[in-house]
């Protein structure tokens, strides 16, 4: 059984192309357009890893979704790669989201900045969950 990646982003082009890349490399994929849908899908069936966009304009941003996932006993071990369009500075993220976040605490394993290099993405996924 190949490993499954849940791709969460509100940009349909990004979701579809990332899906093509991951499938082409042997991973199974599922997708969600916002944090709420992601949480629902993770609860239905836990994926092996989640690619989570941080700034989704639709329901539930990436920080919200990752905190929810980390708060659930059965789900908290799922590795999360957080994808950001601007930069990976937690201060900036905190500032933008207007939340009093502890900068030491980020409920994700890795930050990756858009545009994503295919090789780097595959390397990070491999590091976290191994080959497909």
């Amino acid at each position: 059984m190949s490993k499954e990646v849940l791709i969460v982003d509100d940009d349909p082009d990004f979701v579809e192309t990332t899906e093509i890349i991951l499938r082409g490399n042997g991973y199974k994929t599922r997708t969600a357009n916002d944090g709420e849908e992601a949480l629902k899908k993770v609860r239905e069936k836990a994926p092996d890893i989640i690619l989570l966009d941080i700034m989704m304009k639709t329901k539930g941003d990436g920080i919200w979704a990752s905190e929810k996932i980390r708060a659930e006993e059965d789900l908290k071990e799922i590795p999360i790669i957080m994808i950001t369009a601007v930069n990976q500075n937690a201060e900036m993220v905190k500032f933008h989201l207007g939340q009093e976040l502890d900068t030491e605490y980020m409920p994700v394993n890795v930050f990756m900045e858009k545009p994503i290099e295919t090789e780097e993405l595959l390397k990070e996924i491999d590091k976290l969950i191994g080959a497909p």
Binding site: D11, D13, K114, T118
Partner: protein
């Protein structure tokens, strides 16, 4: 100083002198108190002014940082998708599927067009805000704006399967302003009404003279705007929840935030009323110039 002197035992005289000193002293003290009060008041005023100025500076700096952050996001996110599309094709993931390759390249083209539009709008916004370039204004008949606009909007409406009912007064007034920008305001509002109409929907457009202004009213029966979202619609980059399903279809400029600034630069007014799932009515007006009508 008082030179009058009293006999040693003339207590009345002494009392009078003391009373006079006392009065003078009291009046000096009270004027001193007044001066101190004035000083205190002006220092409170200055402190208040200073702290207001400080708060405003902080707010502006924050707004600027947020703006830069949002602009970067709005530019980088679509660029990242274009980058992914190119990678998928160049790296051979779609080899043998020419149709899919073309479809993706077409999407990349739309995204790049949208990025260009956003950049144009940002430049326009900075012109309007900083007034580095005074707007080129002239007197023109507002009816002229519609000749090309009607055709353009009818075409877009037809593509979107929406009907437009035009009701423009033949007696259009003259406006003092930038005709290109005013056309853009009208185009944006009508475009929005078509974009957020349901297929088969109707957009009613009325343009007429009213209370010394030209008023354009655009009414659609589309998806509408949530009540809590209405106050935010003029904010840069704001998109209502109902607006998002259309995200793939259309160009994403600064939309209404730019419209508001153009209207303000012409001392006009804009008012938007909406009911969720029932539709939106936008009214925009520009003051008539004093020139004679056609």
């Amino acid at each position: 100083m008082e030179r009058e002197s009293c006999e040693i035992k003339d207590f009345k005289c002494h009392k009078k002198r003391i009373q006079r000193w006392h009065n003078r002293f009291e009046s000096d003290i009270s004027s001193l108190i007044e001066t101190l009060k004035d000083l205190k008041d002006s220092s409170i005023e200055a402190k208040k002014e200073c702290s207001e100025h400080y708060a405003r500076t902080v707010e502006l700096t924050k707004a600027k940082t947020r703006f830069t952050f949002e602009v970067s996001h709005e530019l980088k996110a679509p660029l990242a998708s274009v980058y992914n599309i190119i990678n998928v094709i160049l790296d051979g993931y779609l080899d043998g599927d020419i149709k899919k390759q073309k479809e993706f390249l077409n999407r990349a083209r739309v995204r790049i067009k949208n990025i260009t539009k956003l950049l144009d709008d940002l430049l326009m916004l900075s012109h309007l805000e900083e007034r580095t370039k005074e707007l080129e204004k002239e007197e023109f008949n507002i009816g002229e704006v519609f000749s090309s606009l009607i055709e353009e909007m009818n075409e877009y409406a037809e593509k979107s399967n929406v009907k437009i009912n035009w009701n423009l007064s033949e007696n259009c007034p003259y406006i003092y302003g930038n005709s290109e920008l005013i056309r853009r305001v009208f185009a944006n509002i009508i475009h929005n009404a078509i974009k957020y109409s349901n297929p088969g929907g109707l957009v009613k457009i009325t343009g007429k003279k009213e209370n010394g202004s030209f008023l354009l009213r655009v009414k659609d029966c589309g998806v509408g705007i949530k009540k809590k979202e209405l106050p935010k619609i003029f904010n840069i980059f704001f998109r209502g929840e109902n607006a998002r399903p259309n995200q793939k279809k259309e160009g994403m400029g600064l939309g209404l935030s730019l419209v508001r600034r153009i209207v303000d630069a012409h001392e006009g007014s804009i008012n938007i009323k909406s009911q969720l799932h029932k539709g939106t009515t936008a009214e925009v007006s520009f003051p008539e110039s004093q020139k004679k009508e056609k």
